[in-house]
């Protein structure tokens, strides 16, 4: 013990600063450096939570400003334009009313509902969206009424696309795709509501309105 004291007294000018530097080094290695990464993660977590809070508040504000009656109408318009199931009745009504408005006589109507199993060669235009293929036969049609028919069909729900037509001597066949799509529950079950963007608002206004 005495030897140690003697040793310390003799070398105190070196030992004490050495202990200080060693202490500083240990603090840097054990506290400061690990703390930097923890602080980074915690800051990121705070930013995420803050963003969530902002999104929730923005959602509340958006929902408060919504007129529920208009919202109900908009949902009806959008779901009529793109039903979640194959709505054969709506398809038939769209075709018959479009034909009547264009002055075309509908002479035949058949629906290709698709196979039960196996891959089907779908029209290229329709591969990204489920559809019902409807084959119709029409009479009393010329170029002008065919344009009218396609126009009125575009203004009808459900949304459709004429993929082929073969008209000769005032009558012929037209193949039409009627689109539908099951609801994407991942998008519907979200907590955050984002306001419709300008494109979506314009699109909503351009959709066939309900009678």
């Amino acid at each position: 013990m005495e030897d140690l004291k003697l040793f310390y007294k003799k070398h105190s000018t070196i030992i004490l600063p050495g202990v200080f530097i060693l202490g500083a080094f240990i603090i840097i290695m054990q506290v400061v450096l690990p703390a930097f990464s923890i602080v980074g993660e915690t800051k990121q977590q705070l930013d995420t939570e803050q963003q969530k809070l902002n999104d929730y508040n923005a959602s509340i504000e958006s929902l408060r400003q919504l007129d529920e009656t208009k919202l109900n109408d908009d949902v009806k318009v959008a779901t009529s334009a793109l039903p979640s199931t194959k709505d054969i009745e709506a398809i038939y009504l769209a075709i018959t009313s479009s034909a009547a408005r264009a002055g075309v006589t509908l002479t035949g109507f058949s629906v290709v509902l698709g196979g039960v199993y196996g891959k089907v060669d779908a029209p290229v235009e329709a591969t990204t969206m489920p559809y019902v293929l409807v084959k119709i036969q029409i009479a009393g049609v010329d170029m002008a009424s065919l344009v009218d028919f396609s126009n009125t069909l575009l203004d009808s729900s459900p949304l459709s696309k004429i993929v082929s037509a073969n008209i000769a001597s005032g009558g012929g066949d037209v193949d039409i795709l009627f689109y539908y799509r099951p609801y994407d529950l991942n998008q519907i079950n979200k907590d955050v509501v984002k306001p419709l963007n300008q494109t979506q608002t314009k699109l909503l206004q351009s959709l066939p309105q309900l009678p």
């Binding site: 004490l16 600063p17 202490g23 334009a81 969206m129 344009v147 609801y183 509501v193 959709l207």
Partner: protein
Amino acid sequence: MVEQGLNLLTVEKKREKKYSNFFTFSLLALILTVLISIGILLYMLWLKTTISSVTRKESEALATLNTMNGKRIKYLTLSERLSSIQKIVPGNAEFRDRLTTIAESVPPEVSIEDVSEERNIVTIKMTSPDLAAINTYLNTNLKGLTNKKGSQIRTITIQSFGLNANTGVYSATIEFVFNI
């Protein structure tokens, strides 16, 4: 001898000053490190407290949102439908647009008898008793169609041209290939 003693004293003083500087430096380094550590710990504490506060506010906001659940689901449904519809519209109007482009180019003296459209190919059969009208259409209007700004027509082919001697009606079959 005297000079040597003085030199030893200077060296000793220099050494002491060196040790003193070293001591001060090491002490400052330790204090600085401790202060930085305390600063970081306080900042972490502040972050944790803020996170707790934000999380509490989140729960309150979520509770408020849940009171508007019906409206929220309707709005999200609307948004979901519109996102899907964006993939259909305006691409579904191609048929109408192609026919309209062709119909607008046809003069009133010429009538279109047959129309066929398959994918991006539209074929029409036109008739007219007026040869000059058909000639003008084939030589002028068709060229105008391809030169039109934003024209989607890739090629135009006159597949046939003839006269029905019994009726005196001229007919032409034309194929329009549009860009996909």
